[in-house]
Subunit: 140 residues, 2 copies
DNA sequence: CCAAAGTTACACACTTTTACCCACTTAGCA
DNA sequence: TGCTAAGTGGGTAAAAGTGTGTAACTTTGG
C-alpha cells in the first residue's frame, strides 16, 4: 500500500530521492516509472506492470494494442542507489516538468511523481465541499 | 468503538499522546492519520484504510484516481511509542493548526484530532435547538 | 582507432530527522 | 501507603536524506 506525501529536490546530478517507505513497498530491486496523465509520472512495482499487461492483453477492445504501445513506450526501469536515489530519463523529467522541487505521493497501489508547484496547485483546486461530498459517498 | 474527549499538549519534539482507550481500539501496532475536512485530522485503523482503498479501487467513476490521490497523499502511518505517543508529520500539524493544545475525540469508528481552540469554538457554535432537533431525528 | 568530453555508477562523509530507551510525575485505587 | 497505569520530559543511537569526489563507461569528433 502506498500513501503519504514526500517532498524532495533534484540534485545537481539529476538524482531524485525516493521515499524509503515506497522503496520497501516496491519490493526488492528495481521498479517501473512511466508517463501518466496531467503531467505526472506513475511509479509502480514490476508485479503491477505484469498485472496491467495481462489485463490489457485480455481486453477485447480494438485499441488496446495502441494503448499499450502509447503507455509502455514511456516506461523505464529504475533502481535506487545505495542512498535510495533514482535517476530519471530526461524525457520523463521533461514530461512532468521536473526541474528542482518534486513531490512524490502514494496512491493505493502506486506512487506518483509530481512537480511540487503542480501538485500544490492541484490540491488547492479541491474545495472543502468536494471533500465533504466524498466523505458522504464513502460512508465513513 | 471510539468515544470521549481527551486533551493533550504537543511536546517540544512534536510528539502527541494518544489516548490509551483509542490505542486499544486501533488494534495492534500502527494506524493511519490523514487530513479530513474543517482542519481536523482523521485517525483510523489500518483495516479501515484497506476497506476504503478497496471500495475506491472498485469505483467505476472516472475521477476515482484523482480522489484517492487527494486523500491518500495526506495519509501517514503512525505507531505509538512505548509511552503511547505518536509523531505527526509537519504537514498534518500545519493543516490542523496544531501548535500546543490538542483535543482528540472519539467518533464511532474513528478518532479525530483537533486544535483545542478550534474544537471548543465548534462546539460552542452548536445551539440547544440544533441538539434538540438532532435528538428527534435519532429517535433516541 | 584514439582521445576528449560528458554521463552514469559507486563510495564516502555529513546533517537532519526519527526511533528507542530510561526516568520522573501524577492520578486512581486497594 | 504502596501499587499500577497513564502521561510527560529528555538523552542517545539508528535511519533517512543530501552533497561531493572519483572511477567506469559511453558518446562524439578528429
Amino acid at each position: 500500500m502506498f500513501f503519504g506525501r514526500y517532498d524532495y529536490s533534484i540534485d545537481a546530478k539529476g538524482r531524485l530521492n525516493f521515499p524509503a517507505k515506497f522503496r520497501d513497498a516496491m519490493g526488492e530491486g528495481s521498479f517501473v516509472v512511466m508517463e501518466w496523465v496531467d503531467n505526472c509520472l506513475f511509479a509502480l512495482p514490476m508485479s503491477e506492470i505484469d498485472r496491467i499487461s495481462e489485463r490489457m492483453g485480455a481486453d477485447e477492445l480494438m485499441d488496446s494494442w495502441e494503448t499499450t504501445g502509447d503507455l509502455f513506450s514511456t516506461a523505464c526501469e529504475v533502481e535506487p542507489d545505495k542512498q535510495g536515489r533514482i535517476l530519471l530519463p530526461a524525457e520523463l523529467r521533461e514530461y512532468a516538468g521536473l526541474s528542482k522541487n518534486v513531490t512524490i505521493i502514494g496512491n493505493r497501489n502506486h506512487a506518483e511523481i509530481w512537480d511540487t508547484d503542480t501538485w500544490n496547485a492541484r490540491r488547492a483546486a479541491v474545495t472543502n465541499e468536494q471533500r465533504r461530498q466524498r466523505m458522504r459517498e464513502l460512508h465513513i
